[in-house]
Amino acid sequence: MAASSEPILEVSGLVKHYPLTRGVVFRKRIGAVRAVDGVDFTLGRGETLGIVGESGCGKSTVAKLLCNLERPTAGSIRFKGEDITRLSGRALKAVRRNIQMVFQDPYTSLNPRMTVGDIVGEPYEIHPEAAPKGDRRRRVRELLDVVGLDPEYVNRYPHQFSGGQRQRIGIARGLALRPEIIVADEPVSALDVSVQAQVINLLDRLQAEFDLSYVFIAHDLSIVRHISDRIGVMYLGRIVETGREEEIYEHPTHPYTQALLSAVPVPDPEAREHRERILLSGDVPSPTAIPSGCRFRTRCWKARERCAVEVPALAVPAVFRRGPAAHDSACHFAEERRVVPPEGPGAPEATGADGNGPG
């Protein structure tokens, strides 16, 4: 779990815009979907970075960019110091081996006409140097064993497996090339509650066994907290707050993070009277028309004039010099506000329009 200081992945200024066009013969650009709009983060070796956010915040686009499934509009992704967004041909292929993806939906991410053995072994067809031909069958059986499936299942088809088992197959495929980084995009959200824990435990065990670094993308905040060392909260294409797991959950300073955390239903009926709920008004704006200045201002209860004109930088707010609140937060009026009740009844102050003071 513990992260070393040397980053394996450095992302800076990452941007992905999808053009919106009108007309067939004379295509005219009329705007852009700004799916990812300036994202920076680093990932340490053996570390898990959790990325949370609501649908449409750009977290899945980030995953695709990291795996080179999409080319960024701007920015760089450095893998061990080398910018992989500029690579092509053989060099790109070599890098791709090291960054593999696990997808959300185990029902559509496996080819129904291929056997499990062929699915898990397919990466070797593309990267034949990873395993000599005669050895592949054995490797596939080994991989199935590693993810907790019976190696005798190699000749079965995906429809013969449950959702949880299919996700294990997807994970085995992701591991086939012995990658150093795994990007998991909502790997458990399609699974039943009782099966989610099994898959999370598997991912945890594999990380220790193969010294993997994870980028774990999800919307379930309690699962992200369990598995992550550091967390980035995304809103409309940008990371608005990032820090170590306990900094984000216990000492959030960005109003969006606070609202997000307070909205999560807590499985404790005793807590329901003591909880402070920040209800945001309205929906997330469209990524084709991102508000000026701070992109959260249209739903923020603290928004003032400054927020409409000046984009807040993702940095440690000047008011926090040290302590757990001193982590990157893109808000002009950042203040600490504890929204997750510690243990049992008590603490959080119920405030209306103007939350203030550390809890």
Partner: protein, 327 residues
């Protein structure tokens, strides 16, 4: 007693044989009460709801036994015409996916107004005014203009509000909400759940909330019924169950939630998978996955034992489970 379901049984004919989706479910809902029905996919929670609403596809479905008493009258003995009049006015349902539950070629105003035209015999104009009224009640901004819009022009959260407005239009005594917020983002989910709870209090409706989310249950329910393989395995006031579950399945579900004090350690995971409903294990259907299973569990189906006045557990060893839960 608003709703009293007694020993309900539902089967489906499939290529795999007979799939027993609901195997003797009994539960009650009072006016003004919120009952949460918790279960994983295939536990029979949605089929139970559909049977109560009378919208089960038959065939392939078949109700093979039991009674569904609504205000003392058995729905299963009613004529279809009578049940149709009851739907909407007496009981209503909120579905998970508002986009596919709403008619895409009718404006939301027409769909909301239709209820008043059909059930209350109102004129189109009066019905339209009622529709605007309802949209304001569920806090859709600019209701008077948006009443002409079509479902696809609304966001997910707004569509779910329209579904709620439609369910509440005729002020039914009972509302069944089947995973009403599962498709929504957390911040929108909180808005919708709050609205639903507020309207429920205002109208004093009985609410049946079908969900798989233990967090949502803890937030809004008064009582909870946990379903597994077509049966209610535990039923209790919500506080009791979270404090000390009396069934190992409930306990497993609660234990598998990531908790702060257990970070960095392995999560508790219920082993195995939920059973195939055409091959439900003999005895207690949970025994192949249960850490407490003994010989008797493999042969004898546990009845719903009375744990206390308002609690029941379908586990032969509920006492042991209850003790273990208090550690």
């Amino acid at each position: 007693m608003l709703l009293d379901v007694r020993d309900l049984r539902v089967e489906f004919r499939t290529r795999d044989g007979i799939s027993r989706a609901v195997n003797g479910v009994s539960c009650t809902v009072d006016a003004g009460e919120t009952l949460a029905v918790l279960g994983e996919s295939g536990s029979g929670k949605s089929v139970t709801a559909q049977a109560v609403m009378g919208i089960l596809d038959m065939p392939p479905g078949r109700i093979t036994g039991g009674e569904i008493l609504f205000r003392g009258r058995d729905l299963l003995r009613m004529k279809e015409e009578e049940r149709r009049r009851l739907r909407g006015a007496g009981m209503a349902m909120i579905f998970q996916d508002a986009l596919s539950a709403l008619n895409p070629v009718l404006s939301v105003g027409d769909q909301l107004g239709e209820l008043f035209v059909v059930h209350r015999g109102m004129s189109r104009k009066a019905a339209r005014a009622k529709a605007v009224d309802l949209m304001e009640r569920v806090r859709i901004p600019g209701a008077a203009q948006r009443v002409r819009d079509y479902p696809h022009q609304f966001s997910g959260g707004m569509r779910q509000r329209i579904m709620i407005a439609m369910a509440l239009a005729l002020e039914p005594a009972l509302v069944i909400a089947d995973e009403p917020t599962t498709a929504l983002d957390v911040t929108v989910q909180a808005q919708v759940m709050d609205l639903l709870a507020e309207l429920r209090r205002e109208y004093r409706m009985g609410l049946v909330l079908i969900t798989h989310d233990l967090g949502v249950v803890a937030d809004v329910a008064d009582r909870i019924a946990v379903m597994y393989a077509g049966r209610i395995v535990e039923s209790a006031p919500v506080r009791d169950i979270y404090k000390a579950p009396a069934h190992p399945y409930t306990r497993g579900l609660l234990d598998s939630i990531p908790r702060l004090d257990l970070k960095g350690r392995e999560l508790y995971a219920i082993k195995g998978l939920p059973p195939n409903l055409s091959r439900i294990p003999p005895g207690c259907s949970f025994h192949p996955r249960c850490p407490m299973a003994r010989d008797v569990c493999r042969t004898d189906v546990p009845p719903l034992y009375e744990v206390s006045g308002d609690r029941g557990s379908a586990c032969h060893f509920w006492r042991e489970c209850l003790d273990g839960g208090e550690q």
